[in-house]
């Protein structure tokens, strides 16, 4: 509740004419988006967002920055009803006005930006990794899947209350952070357009249970300090190679489902799995080509598997290796082409696992700029194991420095059990207009 008050205060300040009032710099984005479901033949959403951003300069190095979001949707199909936010820390929860309007304090932090050191205290996003659209290292902040992966990550990534420090020494950047905000991936409620139904993300039974199932609320970590998370990163340039080495002590942001057999019922309780992640990334460029990649090794990651009704289904864990390799090509004028290959390998095989031992997919992005004001963006995500995927097309016109309009289409294909195919009927075209001041 108090967040909503803070956010409301921010919105009030932002609604004032933008500019530099003393050391306060305020700007805001007003965005309107309409999406029409091409398969369903119905409107999916008609949203209006107001996103103020502020920076209060306190001194040469210190500032207080943040942003908020007020969002309303005429159709209430993306998050049907008022979401319970069970996976969201009370410190981070959004405030709702009715079922269709929400207000959220997105980020609010104090920043110290010295010549060799950066410190940020407050609610913020911490982003690791070098991949586009694929999260291998970018797992510090959880995500809202309100629109699956269709929303910009900047908007769908959930900022967390944390303390962040980064210092440059010996030509390297040393980073450490502490997260005491227990917020995890947020899935849209049942009945929503992008409700997640793929077996690997929901409780799946190989044989239907004969007794009623009770779904419990998620068991969230409740020790703010004992269950806090932290991460370390060393990054820099060796020769011409960008690199980073990462360590994260965290919870998996997607809950696993604990199936318990009680005398007269079966219960499913979402729980969160503590993991340790080692990772790294690299990038280099030659001529028109940039090569980048990142990888993680997660110890004891939860493996989703199909439940069998009559037996005890203990959670299954395995070490998992994930990596992505990306190549960017800019040899064609005004054009950016990027291809990525992702693979996830589970070190131990399990029967009834809902995901293959080796999972692969590729992404392809082609972006072309016309005359500085028009941009065409085409993306293709393809999952090779379940033969499903997503094709996104997007045309953007920068009408002026403040205003832009875009027309886009998102088309899913493949079996309904696939990560993308599960949204086979959520194909949509959308038009967005935004104004920044």
């Amino acid at each position: 509740m108090w967040q909503a008050v803070l956010a409301g205060g921010a919105l009030f300040v932002a609604a004032a004419p933008a500019g530099n009032a003393q050391d306060l710099d305020v700007s805001a984005t007003i965005e309107s988006r309409y999406a029409f479901g091409t398969q369903s033949g119905n409107s999916q959403s008609a949203e209006l967002e107001f996103r103020p951003v502020w920076e209060l300069t306190l001194s040469d190095q210190w500032s207080f920055q943040g942003d908020a979001r007020l969002r309303t949707d005429a159709f209430d199909k993306l998050e049907v009803g008022r979401p319970r936010q069970g996976v969201v820390d009370p410190l981070t929860q959004r405030g709702f006005i009715g079922q269709t309007t929400e207000i959220e304090l997105r980020e609010a932090f104090f920043q110290y930006a010295g010549d060799m050191t950066t410190v940020r205290l407050g609610k913020q996003q911490i982003v690791w990794g070098r991949a586009d659209g694929i999260k291998v290292l970018d797992i510090v902040n959880p995500q809202s899947f309100r629109e699956f992966i269709l929303d910009d990550f900047d908007q769908s990534r959930t900022p967390l209350w944390s303390a962040f420090v980064e210092h440059t020494a010996f030509g390297l950047d040393f980073q450490g952070f502490w997260l005491f905000d227990q917020t995890f991936n947020e899935a849209p409620p049942s009945g929503s357009i992008f409700e997640i139904t793929a077996p690997e993300f929901v409780p799946t039974f190989l044989s239907p249970p004969s007794v009623p199932l009770l779904f419990n609320d998620i068991e969230r970590p409740n020790d703010r300090f004992g269950d806090s998370e932290f991460g370390l990163q060393v990054s820099g340039l060796i020769g011409n190679w960008d690199f980073s080495l990462n360590y994260l002590h965290t919870f998996e942001d997607t809950p696993f489902f604990n199936f318990e057999v009680l005398p007269s019922q079966r219960t499913i309780t979402p729980r969160l799995n503590r993991v340790n992640v080692l990772g790294g990334s690299f990038a280099n460029s030659w001529g028109d080509i940039t090569l980048r990649g990142e990888a993680t090794y997660t110890f004891n990651e939860d493996i989703p598997f199909g439940f069998q009704a009559g037996v005890i289904n203990e959670p299954v864990e395995a070490d998992v290796v994930k990596y992505v390799l990306g190549v960017d090509y800019v040899g064609i004028p005004d054009t950016f082409i990027s291809a990525q290959f992702f693979q996830q390998i589970k070190r131990t095989k399990f029967p009834n696992a809902l995901v293959p031992g080796v999972e692969e997919f590729t992404t392809l992005l082609v972006r072309h700029d016309f005359d500085d004001d028009w941009m065409l963006d085409l993306r293709w995500y393809a999952n090779h194991d379940s033969n499903d995927g997503l094709i996104r097309t997007h045309v953007m016109h920068q009408i002026s420095d403040q205003m832009k309009a875009s027309l886009g289409g998102d088309f899913f294909y493949g079996a309904k059990t696939g990560v993308f195919g599960q949204f086979n009927e959520a194909d949509r075209v959308s038009i967005t207009i935004s104004y920044v001041y």
Partner: protein, 1062 residues
């Protein structure tokens, strides 16, 4: 024979293995048909998205290599004297002195003003009686008066004008006819590319303007070239739909099923989109000659589809119970080989043209023909089978009817039987044709006259004829006279040399007149001596000459002579006019003048170089004949090698080529006999005929080889079998291409007509030869001899040859380096100019587009200069939509070490490593490239060669001009510049103004460094303005809050700092 074939080293991988591999491939393709089709659609959208950005360059100058000395000199003439190709407006009356009357003189004045105000007309370069002056004098005074006075012109005033004009010989024949019956208005265009539109605008303006008894005409080099360009453009846009209609009709007639029209059309669209899209994406202009490319692409892609569909329907008929997928797999497994063979040989044929062509448009035409052929092949072997497998099996009634013996089938049967039964007769006839063709080649004439591209009766043609008849002519030859020192043109001896040159020029048959500074000097000398004709000569005294010009500058317009001499009197231009543009005559004249100047202007004191339209035409057209045959020869040779390799037989390679070689020789004979000139447009028929026509032979021979070697048939049986499969497809293949090119016969342009006619006849002859001569040859030689396999060593040698020739194209040439010690020294001075180790400054960027709309950005820049590198961060603070976007670069002094760049985008919350080769790309919407930003008013000593190129005055101060040439083609491509000219302030080694030319040699942009001040002991520029001449866009950087005393650490310039913001 079968054993020999099977035991051959070449057959370790048997055909049966290839067939099974191909089956696996097509099985895979048809397993994911929707994905493949979707990818095809994506390909079309993706490549088609680039097409709107296609740049057109349909000017004639595009045919000349930008490195050609003639065009470089022509550009220099443009720079020095401001002369470009003009549009000429003729006002013609009947009878002597018709022009010296109030109405026509007022009309000249009115039109001059109106034309000067038009778009794309250089208002300072409109010349007519209304802008020129008379120079006359008395014993005591010199008068420089306008030829047409202000206000209403009376009869008396008109007579005065007549007297003034006739007293100045330099105007006669030039601006006014000798008999005073007509006058010219000469208007120079700013942008040659849109000269056609300017011509049309002027034509529309003058319509109905002429007073009674007078006529108005519009012509001139810019008009001819521009109008021709626009004409070709419009023509091709009108003709293309017709081509498509014909193709659709052909496909429907051939198969009579909807899929047989829809699917090939999809392949056609994909091929065209892929080829033209790639052309646009690579920034390669669409040249005039490229108009023929879409027709070729349509023809080739349709041909491939026809073959696949033919086999598909045959399989479907043979196995009606099978699924569409199985039918598709089998059909494609059988037809892929000839498709690959024809595509590869066609591509290699065009590659040969590309390698040897000296004209950029022809080279690019051939390159994109290769791309188009291979794109069509890939689409035909991926998307087409995928799409076919999704369709329900359907009978093709058209093929069934043909099989029962339609008229066409009967004709083809008869011809084939005749060829097989009477090989001696047919081959002898072919030999006779070859001899006739060879003789005919010797009659071939290389000729060109630009105006010949228009039909008789076209206004531009009438105007051109009038100018050539009544004036000195519409074609000009420039001679640039360069003296060693400034003021060298004041020397009487030099001026007399120029006078003698003019006399020599005017003695040549087609040169009707010439103008130079000497004419003006003689007029001045005469005028200052009370108009005494005896003084119409070059004074003997240098001081007198200088004084004469000084006196003129005091009384007349100081820019009066800017088209004849530069401001320092070091370089002069002699312009001779010719009354014909016929290449042979122009070329002969140019050669004569070249010999003359080589002899008379060979000293260090004064040199002469030819330029202008006549010299250009001579330069680029002279090698046409040799180059044409060389290109053809290379192309034929490469196709022979490729066909021999693929068919594994030298003899098969030869007989593959014979039909198309015969066809081309026949066409040459026809051209020679009918007096059709070999010029750039008509010469294109040959590579097209080779590239496309050879397909007919390859299909036939490949199938004969397959049926005789694999199936064990004899030749007659094989031909009978072919008639039920390939022959029908070949016929419709030929018909599609034939009628496609035939559409060109409906073009309004005579050139396109001729090209279309020659190409269609060549294709028809190729097809006919393949139909008749090929079977006759095979019948005469026998399949055993023809298909005797080559040894592995021979194959390896041939393959090596092919690769070696092909690699010639791939290896880029080093740029022609031009450097002098003086230039290098100045370049080093600039590079060594002291700069602050630490920089903190604010940059306000104002970007203005051609419509006057502005965008403003504010950024802060930090820079640290280390021992071996420089690190810079630029972070934007305004406007809000790019706030905190930041760019970081680590630039190493060691050229061998590549620089590193990152871009931080707030929306991504992370930084992204970007390619340093983007250095030629524009920095975030400005007119400065990444390299411009990085170099900060210096120029890389390793990227450029430096030479000093005279001096230039800017705002009253003379600055040395440093000419920079990229050190290699690769560097030129990376930077996006082919040339830079920098006016350098010698006091502080700062560039005052830098002019850039793009890779194609067009003036690209100018960067001016204004408001140069000393801040904390360092020379600093406060305002930098970049003006892009191509786009009309301008960027101004206003630099403020400069702090050189800030303390920065090199090591702090990491991604952390980039993300944290400044």
């Amino acid at each position: 024979m079968q054993d020999q074939y099977q035991n051959s080293d070449l057959n370790r991988l048997n055909i049966s293995d290839l067939v099974s591999i191909s089956e696996i491939y097509f099985r895979f393709i048809t397993k994911f048909p929707r994905v493949v089709v979707a990818l095809g659609i994506l390909f079309i959208i993706g490549t088609g998205a680039f097409i709107p950005s296609l740049v057109k360059d349909t000017t004639i100058d595009a045919f000349i290599d930008p490195d050609n000395a003639a065009i470089q000199y022509r550009d220099r003439v443009k720079e020095l004297f401001g002369l470009k190709d003009p549009i000429i407006i003729v006002i013609a009356g009947e009878g002597e002195n018709a022009i010296y009357a109030p109405a026509p003189l007022e009309l000249v004045r009115e039109l001059t003003e109106a034309i000067a105000a038009m778009d794309n007309v250089d208002p300072d370069k409109v010349i007519s009686l209304a802008t020129e002056t008379s120079i006359r004098g008395t014993e005591t005074d010199l008068f420089v008066d306008p030829l047409i006075p202000e206000g209403r012109v009376t009869l008396e005033m008109a007579d005065i004008t007549r007297q003034q004009v006739t007293s100045m010989p330099l105007y006669l024949g030039n601006l006014v006819t000798d008999d005073g019956s007509a006058t010219l208005i000469v208007a120079e265009v700013l942008e040659q590319r849109i000269a056609g539109k300017t011509y049309e605008a002027i034509l529309a303006h003058v319509e109905g303007f002429a007073p009674q008894d007078y006529s108005l005409h519009v012509a001139g080099g810019a008009a001819v070239d521009g109008y021709l360009a626009a004409y070709i453009d419009t023509d091709s846009r009108i003709l293309m739909p017709f081509v498509l209609v014909i193709i659709i009709a052909m496909l429907f007639v051939a198969f009579r099923t909807p899929r047989s029209v829809g699917l090939p059309l999809f392949i056609v669209i994909g091929t065209a989109s892929g080829t033209i899209g790639v052309m646009a994406a690579l920034g390669i202009p669409y040249f005039a000659i490229t108009s023929a490319l879409p027709i070729i692409l349509v023809g080739i892609s349709v041909a491939d589809s026809i073959h696949v569909l033919t086999y598909y329907y045959n399989e479907q008929k043979a196995h009606p119970e099978d699924s569409s997928r199985e039918i598709t797999i089998r059909a494609c497994s059988h037809v892929w080989r000839p498709l690959v063979l024809t595509s590869v040989t066609t591509a290699i044929g065009f590659l040969g043209i590309a390698v040897t062509s000296v004209m950029p448009p022809m080279m690019w035409f051939s390159v994109f023909a290769v791309i188009g052929v291979m794109t069509a092949l890939v689409l035909t072997l991926t998307v087409l089978p995928a799409a076919l497998s999704l369709c329900k099996p359907q009978l093709c009634k058209a093929m069934s009817e043909d099989r029962r013996g339609g008229f066409v089938a009967k004709i083809l049967d008869f011809v084939t039987e005749l060829a097989i039964d009477k090989p001696l007769l047919i081959n002898s006839a072919a030999a006779v044709l070859i001899i006739i063709g060879a003789i005919g080649v010797s009659n071939l004439t290389v000729e060109r006259e630009a105006i010949n591209n228009f039909r008789d009766g076209e206004p531009i043609r009438i105007a051109d004829a009038l100018i050539n008849e009544r004036f000195d002519g519409a074609t000009y030859l420039d001679v640039v006279i360069e003296t060693r020192d400034e003021g060298g043109l004041y020397e009487p001896e030099t001026l007399r040399k120029i006078e003698a040159l003019q006399s020599y020029l005017e003695s040549l048959r087609i040169v009707q007149g010439s103008v130079s500074i000497v004419d003006y000097l003689k007029q001045l000398n005469k005028s200052i001596n009370a108009d005494d004709q005896a003084y119409y000569r070059v004074p003997d005294n240098r001081s007198l000459i200088e004084q004469l010009f000084l006196v003129h500058s005091a009384t007349g317009d100081p820019t009066d002579f800017e088209e004849e001499v530069d401001s320092t009197f070091q370089i002069a231009l002699v312009r001779a006019r010719m009354n014909t543009g016929l290449f042979s005559e122009v070329s002969e004249t140019v050669q004569a003048v070249e010999s003359y100047v080589a002899e008379e202007f060979s000293s260090d004191e004064v040199r002469a170089t030819l330029s202008g339209r006549a010299a250009l035409d001579h330069n680029w057209l002279s090698p046409l004949k040799e180059n044409h045959f060389a290109s053809l020869g290379v192309s034929i040779f490469l196709i022979w090698i490729a066909a021999s390799l693929l068919l594994r037989s030298w003899i098969a390679g030869i007989i593959t080529l014979l039909p198309v070689v015969v066809a081309i020789l026949m066409i040459y004979a026809v051209m020679g006999a009918m007096g059709i000139w070999l010029e750039p447009a008509t010469s294109m028929f040959a590579p097209i005929a080779i590239g496309v026509g050879v397909d007919f032979s390859i299909h036939t021979i490949e199938r004969v080889r397959y049926y005789t070697r694999k199936e064990g048939m004899n030749f007659r049986e094989a031909m009978a079998h072919i008639s039920t499969t390939s022959r029908r497809a070949l016929f419709y293949n030929f018909a599609a291409i034939f009628f496609g090119f035939g559409v060109l016969l409906t073009s309004e342009l005579p050139t396109i007509n001729r090209f279309g006619g020659l190409t269609t006849v060549a294709l028809a002859t190729s097809y006919g030869m393949a139909l008749i001569v090929l079977p006759a040859l095979i019948s005469a030689l026998g399949t055993d001899r023809i298909f005797k396999p080559m040894k592995v060593r021979t194959v390896a040698t041939a393959a090596g040859l092919l690769l070696a020739v092909g690699s010639v194209f791939i290896v880029s040439n080093a740029g022609i380096a031009q450097e002098t010690d003086e230039g290098r020294a100045l370049g080093e001075r600039i590079a060594a100019r002291p700069e602050a180790e630490n920089v903190d400054q604010t940059i306000e960027m104002v970007m203005t587009d051609r419509r006057g709309r502005t965008k403003e950005r504010t950024a802060r820049m930090l820079r640290k200069v280390g021992e071996d590198q420089r690190r810079t961060i630029i972070a934007f603070s305004k406007p809000a939509n790019i706030k905190n976007t930041a760019f970081m670069t680590h630039d190493y002094n060691d050229a061998a070490k590549s620089d590193n760049q990152w871009l931080y985008l707030p929306a991504l919350r992370r930084s992204r490593r970007i390619s340093a080769s983007d250095r030629g790309d524009y920095f975030l919407g400005t007119d400065f490239t990444y390299e411009d930003i990085k170099d900060s008013t210096k120029f890389s000593l390793t990227d450029y060669q430096f030479a000093v190129d005279g001096t230039e005055e800017i705002e009253g101060i003379a600055y040395p001009i440093l000419s920079l040439t990229p050190a290699s083609d690769d560097v030129a491509k990376e930077l996006g510049y082919s040339k830079v000219r920098v006016a350098v302030d010698e006091v502080n080694a700062m560039p005052v103004r830098a002019e850039y030319w793009d890779a194609a040699g067009n003036k690209l942009k100018t960067i001016s460094s204004n408001d140069r001040v000393v801040v904390d002991g360092f020379w600093t520029v406060n305002t930098i303005i970049a003006t892009n001449h191509k786009t009309g866009h301008m960027t101004q950087f206003n630099i403020s809050d400069i702090d050189y005393s800030v303390s920065l650490e090199l090591s702090s310039f990491t991604e952390r700092k980039l993300k944290a913001g400044l």
